[in-house]
């Protein structure tokens, strides 16, 4: 409708107070009308195919639910790589400076490896330094890792990370994610914004090394706002690259950790959030949705359903069969049905 309805109809929709669509004001409807003339979904889709990129809008059943819950969630995400988006699970963001010390480098790679070996997906931004080391640590440990890029999924940034990028695409243990269409060049303002996706895909964040004004602290802020567990590696008070984590620890904004065991132990507490990553296996529409919505966990008789839904026996039978095939409902003796 936003793409097909007339200007007048959209304005009328926005003006009807009971619909809660009052954002459809004169200015935005005008903008919508002008912009929709310039885009063509089929053309965009063809380009995605050429770029070997998938697109998941926020209402797609495979769009990570944890990401849809964050403030200012991306309208859609583009992915490239072989890791099935339906297989996402517990994840930890590992972030830090682009210029780590040998101490930070060793910790990033070792911790990423151990956490990935434990089954966590390591999420980072493919930047130089801690990000890259975290990705490599996960890969070399045989674990899984996701790189969230600031530009399009085909825009390798920094270009010196070509080897890592290619490796992420080569096997099912890697995935590239972006909120921008392929070909989009990263601009400075996109990097902080990208960090919300890194944390949005994760259950916890580990800050390894970061200067007092590092962009990684923005990730830590997002993590804190998104109620993620935030961990920080302490460092010398004389070390410039430990100023960020030391400060977070001092302010009680992060939990001091010195081993992956501590992280895993704390994350056990928040494993309830793992359910957020479970994709909805089937998206229902039409009659099947109506029938499924009507069914409860208690058995309901076929006749009750026909009466409540006011649909024909044939339509109901058809919908029930499809739901049963999808494993969403159970058929019980006596023509009763309930959610599986």
């Amino acid at each position: 409708m936003l793409l097909t309805w007339s200007r007048g109809d959209l304005l009328e929709l926005g003006a009807r107070e009971n619909l809660g669509l009052n954002f459809l004001d004169e200015k935005r409807v005008q903008s919508l009308i002008e912009k929709r003339e310039r885009v063509d979904g089929e053309v965009l889709y063809d380009k995605l195919q050429i770029a070997r990129t998938s697109f998941y809008p926020i209402v797609h059943p495979h769009y990570p639910r944890c990401l849809s819950n964050i403030h200012n969630a991306p309208i859609g995400i583009y992915t490239r790589g072989q890791m099935p988006i339906t297989s996402l699970g517990m994840a930890i963001a590992i972030v830090g400076t682009r210029k780590p010390t040998s101490y930070g480098s060793k910790i990033a790679k070792t911790f990423a490896g151990e956490l990935a070996s434990a089954g966590l997906i390591v999420v980072s931004g493919m930047a130089l330094g801690i990000d890259s080391l975290a990705h490599w640590g996960a890969i070399e440990a045989g674990g899984r890792t996701i790189a969230v890029l600031a530009g399009g999924v085909d825009h390798i940034y920094p270009s010196t990370n070509r080897k890592l990028y290619d490796r992420l695409l080569a096997k099912e243990d890697g995935l590239i994610v972006s909120e921008y269409f392929p070909g989009t060049e990263p601009k400075t303002w996109m990097f902080p914004s990208r960090n919300r996706i890194i944390t949005g895909l994760s259950n916890a964040l580990l800050l390894v090394e970061a200067g007092a004004k590092s962009g990684s602290l923005i990730s830590a802020k997002f993590a804190f706002e998104q109620s993620l567990e935030v961990f920080a590696i302490p460092g010398s008070i004389w070390a410039e690259m430990s100023a960020g984590p030391n400060d977070l620890i001092h302010k009680d904004s992060a939990r001091l950790v010195t081993s992956t065991k501590q992280i895993l132990s704390h994350m056990q507490v928040s494993t309830a959030r793992i359910a957020d990553f479970a994709p909805i296996a089937v998206q229902l529409y039409g009659r099947e949705k109506e029938v499924f919505d009507r069914l409860a966990n208690e058995p309901t008789h076929f006749e009750q359903l026909t009466q409540a839904l006011e649909i024909s026996v044939g339509e109901l039978s058809s919908a029930l069969t499809m739901l049963e095939l999808a494993g969403l409902i159970e058929r019980l003796p006596g023509d009763f049905y309930q959610r599986a």
Binding site: L2, L32, E34, P57, I58, I75, S318
Partner: protein, 72 residues
């Protein structure tokens, strides 16, 4: 009860169910594509919306439209 050319509803339901199960089984056996998870046309709509700079409309506002109309 008199003989009726119309099968009893339970029988028909059962028969219908068996036929559908059989068709579904054959479809899977023949590697026929399963129904799409997300309608293609809907995907194109969202693709367009995502690439319009969204005309100043936020994702949560789009969601409101979607929740109300099941489409954007």
């Amino acid at each position: 009860m008199t003989d009726s050319p119309i099968p009893d509803r339970d029988d028909q339901t059962e028969q219908d169910r068996r036929e559908r199960l059989e068709r579904a089984f054959q479809a899977r056996s023949a590697s026929v594509e399963l129904p799409e998870v997300f309608p293609h046309q809907e995907l194109l709509y969202w693709l367009e919306i995502a690439n319009m700079g969204v005309a100043g409309i936020r994702a949560d506002e789009l969601m409101r439209v979607y929740e109300r109309y099941g489409s954007i």
